[in-house]
């Protein structure tokens, strides 16, 4: 999603949060492919559609709570990340390893791809345990967007968010 589309989504989401029902179609059309793609990258295709739909419904159920001071896409992806985490936990509880769908014989490059995908999924899972403000700070840092706060405050926030991320990673995976 480019920055213009992102800004437009934010504007429409703010209108929807205010109760303007005419913004619903544009928010739906903008958000559904993004959430679907995001979840598809995290989960096997057999589960991703269900989880993406669940995430979308959660986003709309909480649309009235949306704070226009926050970025709409980051907020929606935060909800989707939480749904992904819940789906993984559910799967773990049922002793269903969602990662078992990997092909048996894989080439070196495919193996590399799987490792990096798993690493990315693990990082996102840990990211999902952080506070929304931390996620937003890290997202802001990664995307290189200019923060809404002063440079010193932003640096402090990054430092805190990274520290919490490190702690969460250690708690989850037991290593740095």
């Amino acid at each position: 999603m480019n920055s213009a589309a992102r800004a437009e989504l934010h504007r429409q989401m703010a209108r929807l949060a205010d109760g303007d029902r005419s913004a619903f179609p544009s928010v739906f059309r903008a958000l559904w492919p993004v959430l679907r793609g995001f979840v598809l990258r995290q989960l096997p295709s057999s589960d991703s559609e269900d989880v993406a739909q669940e995430a979308l419904l959660k986003v709309f159920a909480r649309a009235a709570e949306f704070d226009a001071d926050r970025d709409a896409l980051t907020w929606a992806l935060g909800i989707a990340a939480f749904e992904v985490r819940t789906a993984r936990k559910r799967a773990t509880r049922r002793r269903e390893d969602l990662g078992q769908e990997l092909p048996v014989a894989v080439s070196q490059s495919a193996e590399q791809e799987i490792i990096s995908r798993n690493l990315e999924a693990a990082a996102l899972e840990v990211l999902g345990t952080l506070r929304p403000s931390d996620i937003e700070t890290l997202h802001c840092m990664a995307s290189g967007r200019s923060p809404s706060v002063s440079g010193a405050t932003f640096r402090k926030r990054i430092e805190r968010a990274l520290r919490r991320l490190k702690l969460a990673w250690r708690a989850k995976h037991g290593a740095d």
Partner: protein, 180 residues
């Protein structure tokens, strides 16, 4: 689950409306202390209960509708505060003589506080020109039901007096809206 896009659309819409309904508590909670103030001195439980139920229903409806309607809720509570509180500031046995008749002070304070409420609602409505006449109507509605809970201490006559005072207080704002 695997819904078609059309079904997903409809479910998302329903979730949105239900979410808004859950969110109305954020706006309708002041109804509880308002009812408590109304019930503090007065014995007419049926009147307090029905006015309280109407106020809760209005706050919920306006909050669910959102936009201008939603913004009218707190403005309405604010405008309704004078008739809710002022008539209760005088002792119940305080009287005065006007035109050879004995009047209870709380009875006289109802039209006066209604006038203040109408003026406050008018000021709040004209502060933001873009909100229009339905904002004024919504504020006036919430304020009059809030005021009814306060002026119930003076009976039906007090409520009627408060409403009349409120209508007079609203006239300048109404005229201004019409001119614009």
């Amino acid at each position: 689950m695997e819904l078609t896009e059309d079904l997903l659309w409809r479910r998302a819409r329903r979730q949105y409306e239900l979410g808004r309904l859950r969110h109305t508590m954020q706006h309708s909670w002041p109804v509880v202390p308002i009812i408590a103030v109304g019930a503090l001195y007065h014995s007419d439980t049926a009147l307090i209960a029905s006015a309280g139920a109407i106020l809760f229903a209005l706050a919920t409806l306006f909050s669910w509708l959102g936009q201008t309607w939603g913004r009218a809720i707190f403005a309405g509570f604010l405008a309704g505060a004078p008739p809710l509180l002022i008539p209760r500031l005088v002792p119940g046995n305080a009287f005065c003589w006007i035109g050879g008749r004995c009047w209870e002070w709380c009875m006289l304070l109802c039209p006066l506080s209604g006038l203040i409420a109408g003026a406050v609602a008018g000021v709040l409505a004209t502060r933001d020109q873009g909100r229009g006449l339905h904002f004024l109507a919504a504020v006036a509605l919430i304020a009059s039901v809030t005021g009814t809970l306060g002026c119930s201490v003076a009976g039906i006559l007090g409520i009627v007096g408060m409403l009349a005072g409120g209508a007079i207080g609203l006239i300048p704002a109404y005229v201004r809206q019409q001119v614009q």
